[in-house]
Amino acid sequence: MSRADAFRLVSRHGRIGCVASITVSAIGISHIEYELPSEAIELEELHLRGLLESPPERLRQFGFARAYLSNRPGEEAALKAAHRLMQRSRVPTRDVAAIFYAGAIPQSHTVSGCGSGNLFNYPVAQLQYELELERATAIGISQVGCMGLNSAVAMARDFLISNGHAQHVLCISADVLPPGAKREILYNVISDGACAVLVSRGCECNRLRYRRQVTKGYYWDSVGKKNEIIAAYFPTAQHLINSTLEGAGLTKDDIRWIIPHNVSRRSWEILLDLVGLPIERLFTENIARVGHVIAADNWINLRDMMERKLVDSSDKLLLVNFGFGANWACAVLEY
């Protein structure tokens, strides 16, 4: 194992659930691509179609404007995003050692159109074939809700650490809600979409400096414990952000940007007030532009920020995420 791969693994059972923390260097995110459906539907239209629970005006107050709806299978969007990433990165397909495919909803883990009898038609294998990643180990990641892609990236880093010969891991998430499904979950407006993230050894860009995750199984019932989840969200996220900064050896002042998952802007105002970070450091534009693309938000946002040159070399970025399950995660990237 090279010096650059040196890592520290700390695992402990703390009072806020099972916590795992890892500090690594020289493993980073080299490329990100995402794919959104062509059709974006404004809140009023979503309301008219009966796809919202709350009045459009309320959701607008919470920072939302529209949702992207797809009538195509999720794996199709995943393939487009991954294909584009492979083309632009110019990484030889033989150098991709693993492909991790995350989906938040059960339908995302079966290739569509195969009929109900085919329970074992997994999109990750199909993607491996279509992308010609014949050397890549293919694994699906589920049951972590909107944290699927973040979990995939974390596992990719671990994979690269424990497989010294491996160079790249391709992480993909794709979720398309079933036709007619409500587009509002816990007062957040949900979009379909896919995102591909390449985690690479020796990548000095977007290095994963530190990550913490907390799982609180008490909140496993996402419907029955809806109120408790909303209430638990804030103090748990606050605690996690503080402990992540502490673990990374950083202060709040060191953080240039907070890269959110695109839940309501109002909830971010509350959380950042609570943590003591200014809302100006939160990248909020995509909450309205894109909505909450389930597992892909943090990475779509990072991609757009890089595209717009909002991040500079060595900027410390804080990625915060929650997924049903119930998981909270916080990571520090160094751009």
């Binding site: 008490y218 109120n227 209430a231 638990a232 103090p235 109002r266 007030d273 609570l274």
Partner: protein, 359 residues
């Protein structure tokens, strides 16, 4: 021997006061203004309404009897709902106190009038609040505080004319054995913390949380009422220097949740975040906007009293301690766990026999 007229006799404090008066050697008779038909032996229940300007709504014969016999009046009746709208709070608390004082002025034996109030007439003041202080322009957290403030002003104005004593109480949590007879805002707040429905509380870690035991409060009131040396002044029955900080109270509550319900630990519920009032109000507004019943119930309780924690203050009880130097105050850090245990044991359902639940 004294004849005592007590208003608010069916309230938590009124009942506790009457319990002590009943067995007091110097009390010959008690008139209890109550809503209940069943009252303990030795009590004469009378029915009326403190908001009625004429004789507190008592029938003429009863009113006349009390006017001619009463030597002590304890005014415990009040609208104590922290969520009360200003007109309702003012009607009961200011109007009721004025009516009571007018009634007292026409009593023949010049009875000592004990007007019960709250230490939170201090409203949004911060710092140390002394017993001889009342008037301020800091504002109030809720209409209840403001109405009690105005009621105290009324009582003070009558002090020259009547032997009026104001007794301000802090938050009465339970008796010193932890028995809760009625659920109040703090008990509900503990339920929300226990159930993971209260994510945040305004204030700072060091905000004092002043709590007092019911039996201590009742004992103090009865002694002040019956003590011939007591002045027409104001006393604060409160924790004073014996109070928990907000952080200490939350830590103690969570420690008790685990101690008295070990299986609760696996829920891994986070302690509520201690936040600025601005953040708390933003959360409250958001919950009210999304209109969810479960969370609204939680913030509906918290929003009327928790903001008080954002105005940290300590209540001084030197005048009371000088008047009743031998009155022993239960240590709140010892009472609090008993209260939490009682609430856990009865599941915040006081319809079950509390005595059994708290044993």
């Amino acid at each position: 021997m004294h004849i005592v007229f007590v208003t608010g006799a069916s309230g938590t404090l009124g009942e506790a006061i009457i319990e002590r008066l009943r067995v007091h050697a110097e009390v010959a008779h008690i008139f209890a203004l109550t809503h209940r038909s069943a009252v303990p032996a030795g009590i004469e229940p009378v029915w009326g309404d403190i908001t009625a300007e004429t004789d507190l709504g008592l029938d003429a014969r009863t009113a006349e009897k009390i006017r001619s016999e009463a030597t002590i009046i304890i005014h415990a009746a009040a609208n104590t709902r922290l969520s009360a709208a200003p007109p309702g709070a003012r009607h009961a608390n200011v109007g009721g106190t004025c009516n009571l004082l007018n009634f007292a002025a026409r009593c023949r034996k010049k009875p000592r009038v004990i007007v019960l109030s709250t230490v939170y007439v201090a409203g949004r003041r911060i710092g140390t609040v002394y017993e001889n202080e009342l008037e301020h322009n800091a504002g109030f957290v809720n209409a209840y505080e403001e109405s009690k403030y105005e009621a105290e002003l009324q009582a003070q104005r009558r002090m020259g004319e009547l032997p009026v004593t104001v007794v301000r109480l802090s938050t009465v949590i339970a008796d010193s054995e932890g028995r809760v007879t009625r659920l109040a805002a703090l008990h509900h707040a503990l339920r929300f913390y226990y159930s993971s429905l209260a994510p945040m509380v305004p204030g700072s870690d060091n905000s004092p949380v002043d709590l007092v035991a019911l039996d201590y409060a009742a004992k103090a009131i009865v002694r002040l009422a019956l003590d011939g040396q007591v002045l027409s002044t104001t006393y604060q029955v409160c924790g004073g220097t014996d109070c928990l900080t907000l952080r200490a109270m939350l830590d103690l509550a969570f420690e008790c949740f685990v101690r008295f319900r070990p299986a609760w630990r696996k829920r891994a519920i986070e302690r509520p975040a201690v936040v600025s009032l601005r953040t708390f109000e933003l959360f409250v507004r958001s919950v009210e906007e999304i209109g969810d019943e479960g969370l609204r119930a939680s913030v509906g309780v918290l929003k009327h009293f928790a903001p008080q924690l954002a105005y940290p203050k300590q209540f001084d009880d030197s005048v009371l301690r000088a008047a009743l130097p031998d009155l022993e105050k239960p240590v709140i850090r010892e009472v609090f766990p008993k209260v939490v245990r009682c609430l856990i044991e009865c599941g915040w359902e006081l319809t079950r026999p509390v005595e059994l639940a708290c044993r």
